[in-house]
Symmetry: C2
Subunit: 363 residues, 2 copies
């Protein structure tokens, strides 16, 4: 069969299983689904809808209010926390969508909030404990009045190195968090950990855990085997299979030269679909032919719409066969490592091209 | 003013000027707009509509039929060539949209075409001349019958190294193209060059030039100063400005350590918005304060939604100020070089996140 389009498959059963497995690691905490960046590219409406209806999830985190509005459409009774906070370019959305809760990360934003309160909602305060990204610094907390501190409904922070179990930063941040919370917000519920922090357990769990990357199948505890089920499969059809004579060059800028006679195939996916161009001459591609899994190498530069693969020795491959770019046997974590980045970045790119045939599967 | 959302601005006036400037380089050829990958992320409907109504453009190239369908909605009288060709997963779209013209790149696809002809349309044949990507190889052309060769309305190929003026591959491919066209399709119109080939001039121009990257402002002739006007501006608001004490770490995995007291700011954009994570600890960010342009450095790892910048020495910077990620003074080509990739890849990513406030400007 002749085919031309790449396919992105998202296994919702595995995603839900991952969510439930993570919940079990933090049984006393409320589990929030992190669906920012369109659920890391996998589709916030679909993922949030699933977590809401089948996972009983009633707390979500997004980065931007416009993202939260989509989530609200499928999670009407949920609280949706907006990490980038509240400002002139998002106030209208906050006013329109009553379940959006701003996370206030600095004094200027807090001043803005006090001038434009959202009736019936208290915001979250984000405090800085060592990541040095968003959040009130200690000297800024000191300047809050008693009534200021009563404005908030939860206190949160974020860990920098929770994917390394024994990193000194973990204890350092936990101690900072406990101390600052005790001093300034002793009665508020607290949230410190995302998926990676959940695997650290104990006091890292606090009252609300924010489940994102691991739910999507990413190994956020890479110091041991991945506990999560695979969620993402990316495939693309083989457009053509050709002999490549010795001495020929392949791809833009002729970065690959055939030093012996090779067999190549051209597949219908490229960096325009989110495959990192840094995989050029490095990345792996897999084919199932004759009931067996074959591993091949990308050769030449990845282009916007196509990748060329060295399939020498893979017998019987033909137009219309399926190339596997990522699956349970070669996960996004593997691809991230080979591409010199992390799976998060690749996942976030993959889901955004509308040229993909996108399939959500449930078993 | 407190703001939270990044902004993507696309200057349609400059884009149209670029198109017209490229047309002048190939006055005898028909100019086709390359709007695949959603016009390199900038919005195919908007770009194709502009080229059609204000540029008189009547030929477009896309990668996939589903992309072509969107273009057809704003370019009803145009021919829209589909580079990835024709297959079982796109036939329905081809049948529905009469201005889509498949580009046939190999014998298997041609067999499929002959079983499922599209009435009233002849396809294009893609021939391979040295890129070793899509296209009929010479031994495959030899096997075409006379009547097979009469099936086509145009012959095309694609250059591998046209961004290097004196690369041996350019002449090699041109000679192959002329020879194969003369032998197999002497009477057909021909297309060989994309933007980069247009700058090579002469016989590289043939009958149809495919104007893409350079139209979007990319320097496709990097052996000299960019002739194109800048099309893309990316900005993000400053969320907060903070002192960073000596000895503090910044970002995930603590990859940056302050060896002296610094001032930092956190801006509301990240790899989720398409800023390459490979710019971590490397990338540049610009600020206009006090009527002056200031250059700053990204520090720590880029995260999904935020970037941290070292703004030591930039006086007066505050929440709500604008960070410039790319503009005429620091183009996508510059960012691509700093990120270890090419502007094409970054452009393709930027346009795809719906969290951006997207603005099309016309002067």
């Amino acid at each position: 069969m002749i085919l031309t389009r790449p396919i992105l498959e998202i296994n919702l059963t595995n995603l839900l299983n991952n969510f439930k497995m993570l919940q079990k690691l933090a049984p006393k905490a409320a589990s929030a689904g992190v669906v920012k960046d369109d659920a890391y590219g996998l589709g916030a409406v679909k993922v949030a809808g699933l977590l809401y209806t089948k996972g009983g999830c009633r707390n979500f985190f997004v980065a931007h209010a416009v993202e939260g509005e989509k989530v609200a459409s499928v999670a009407p009774e949920a609280k949706i926390f907006v990490l980038q906070g509240y400002g002139e370019d998002s106030r209208e959305v906050f006013e329109r969508v009553p379940n959006l809760i701003p996370v206030i990360s600095n004094p200027s934003m807090f001043d803005y909030y006090k001038q434009h309160r959202l009736n019936g909602r208290k915001p979250v305060i984000h405090i800085e404990t060592g990541l040095n990204r968003l959040g009130f610094r200690e000297n800024e907390l000191e300047r809050l009045s008693d009534s200021d501190r009563n404005e908030f409904m939860m206190v949160m922070s974020h860990l920098a190195c929770a994917d390394e179990k024994d990193h000194f930063m973990n204890e350092h941040q936990l101690n900072n968090f406990k101390r600052l919370k005790e001093q300034y917000f002793p009665r508020l519920p607290a949230s410190l950990s995302a998926s990676d922090g959940v695997f650290l357990g104990g006091d890292f769990l606090q009252d609300v855990v924010r489940l994102g990357a691991a739910m999507y199948g990413i190994n956020t505890a890479p110091y041991r085997e991945n506990q999560m089920q695979n969620v993402v499969r990316v495939t693309a059809p083989v457009l053509q299979v050709e002999d490549l004579p010795e001495g020929e060059f392949v791809g833009y800028s002729a970065t690959y030269r055939a030093n012996s006679r090779r067999k190549i195939c051209i597949i219908s996916i490229g960096y325009g679909d989110g495959i990192p161009r840094s995989l050029s001459n490095v990345g792996k591609v897999f084919f199932k032919v004759g009931g067996q899994l074959h591993e091949a190498r990308m050769i030449g530069r990845i282009s916007m719409d196509n990748i060329i693969c060295d399939v020498t020795g893979i017998e019987g491959l033909q137009s219309g066969d399926t190339a596997y770019l990522c699956d349970s046997f070669y996960t996004l974590d593997d691809m991230g490592r080979d591409a010199g980045t992390i799976s998060y970045e690749i996942m976030s790119r993959l889901g955004k091209n509308t040229r993909f045939i996108r399939r959500y599967t449930e078993e």
